[in-house]
Symmetry: C2
Subunit: 396 residues, 2 copies
Amino acid sequence: MEIKMSAPKGFLFSAVEAAIKKPGRKDLALIYSESKAVISGMFTTNSIKAAPVMIDMKRIKSGIGQAIIVNSGNANACTGKQGIADALEITDMIAKALKLKNSMVYICSTGVIGTTMPMERIRAKIPELLKNLGKSTIDDLANAIMTTDTFPKNITKRIKINGKTITISAVCKGAGMICPNMATMLCFIMTDANIDKSALDKALKSAVQKSFNKITIDGDMSTNDTVLTMANGMAGNSLIKLNSKEFNKFANAVSDITYELSKLIVKDGEGATKIVEIGVINAKSDIDAKRGAFAVANSLLVKTAIYGNDANWGRIMAAIGYSGITIKEEKTDIYLNGLKIVKNGMGTGKDKEANEKLKGKEIKIIVDLKLGNKNAKVLTCDLSEEYVKINAEYRT
Amino acid sequence: MEIKMSAPKGFLFSAVEAAIKKPGRKDLALIYSESKAVISGMFTTNSIKAAPVMIDMKRIKSGIGQAIIVNSGNANACTGKQGIADALEITDMIAKALKLKNSMVYICSTGVIGTTMPMERIRAKIPELLKNLGKSTIDDLANAIMTTDTFPKNITKRIKINGKTITISAVCKGAGMICPNMATMLCFIMTDANIDKSALDKALKSAVQKSFNKITIDGDMSTNDTVLTMANGMAGNSLIKLNSKEFNKFANAVSDITYELSKLIVKDGEGATKIVEIGVINAKSDIDAKRGAFAVANSLLVKTAIYGNDANWGRIMAAIGYSGITIKEEKTDIYLNGLKIVKNGMGTGKDKEANEKLKGKEIKIIVDLKLGNKNAKVLTCDLSEEYVKINAEYRT
């Protein structure tokens, strides 16, 4: 586990129990920066967007923010005008209490779709949420945003920029509805770095591209996916500008964090027993490599075989075959944790050895197309009866 | 159940136990037409094609055939040159014994990918297979081609054309790896109709388009999908020509049969407890309607919710949202077995009533986009723990 480090300077947290879906757990949280922060965001590409996503997408155009209120238990999606009104009322309450302009407050929700927010319980809890500000930890925040997650996910890293220590902390939630184009998730990245808005945008985009956009649990994409990054400058470093040496250092740190969080999300995929990396290498094009890797990663037959410790590579070949990419069956090789199980389109007869390798918790499958020099990598997990159970009983 | 009717004139069947995957069941079958038959076929669009598929695709160019040998237990896919050699040896043996040109014999295989055919056991059984010709029924044939199917699937229909009785019999297998662009399946349609080759081609294509291409179990597409239709003319009707009144009657009968078989395949989807019809109506375009319907039908979250009797319509909205089609959230209505559960993008508060409806075995979901006049319909099933169990243990 990560050694727990203190949060970035100037960030305060609060998490309380509002019984949004059911009582007995923290489900309403607040992130507050003592000074105005540069903010960048990325949002679900689903045409159906939750009310808070629509509000944040407008507000983020200003490029600044100071607070994020987030709840689990209710997605506030498919809730129409009422959903928008509820979300606005919540941000207004926070803004008023913290003496901020409304537009400085962002809001994120995750949970069940199609139920309006239990506003009475939320209204009643906001005073406690505010009073508690600074008394909760990042761990509390990570816990409060969980839905079917089985463990909280947060990472803190420190880097030096021009002699100043910069802290970057990130929390996220994942678990199900995890799909290309941003896993179904919320992620908040907080840093005390002093950084230019365009530099923060680029660092976030690049990090998400290499991490959250490369994982898939079940191929479903949520209505609520949001990644927000706040940088409040309180570390006192000289401004990090786009494409400088300092920028690269900062961007790499953010990428490392989001990649580690991605791995945690996959590890905690609903019902997952294994983390699986699918690499497609030597494809004719980038798009072929990516599409091939996602086809294998999303194949239920591949995922169930991995769950069953069955190196049924025929299902990998079939998935690559129907992905629509350019392949030559008689050239294709497949490796499982380094063991060559398919050579030139045919089995190498090492299935028993491969089945043994599948008993591990980290599985690495490489499909070598031998047609070009483009590679892609996707993280996923296996598919167990537990996934079905969790999702059949989600609202009960 | 269908009343069992006798097979089309001139068709003989045989099914024997060859212990291809394991002993104790019929797994090798032969279909033989006493006279030359016009033959049409449709094949998997997967780039990875099994050896028998490659052979049939060549042979079918002649437009005629007289025998089909089929086995379950081994797909003869990803078996390279050996796979082709094995398949050719089998068809050669059949051709020689039946005194046919090699090219008159077709071959289909279904089962595990990537294992070469157990040729010694097959060779040893071919004399018995031939000797038994005419002693097996269509039921035996339907049984012999099953893999994870839990019941055999065959339908026989009779129609009158110009005073002559024409019989059409079809058998198929399905169960898993069922996906758009031909379910993972084998299907053999036999008829004694006297029909022109181009008319048979069109009748088959149109029937498949409306049936096997509109079902999905798990989104996976097989390497072996094949539909073959043989028409031997022994009913003695005057030749059915393309686009005649007689053609329409014949084509409708074939479409009815394949649609009924499609429903049987979905009903028997691996681990399925319910048959689910997804309709997307009033879409802006045909492609939108189809893509939307498939997105909902393939969503694991939708399928598990249906399994759990949970009318979690938010997942349907999310799937429509990420399908990439044109939608207006605030216009979208959703019906579940006739009950309006979403109106203008929001829940109607009838979730409890809807949950009750989900306890039935036949579920009909309609998504009304109210944006145009194009409709599409897809058949699928729910997703249960049993699906995972079947596919995790398939090769053990």
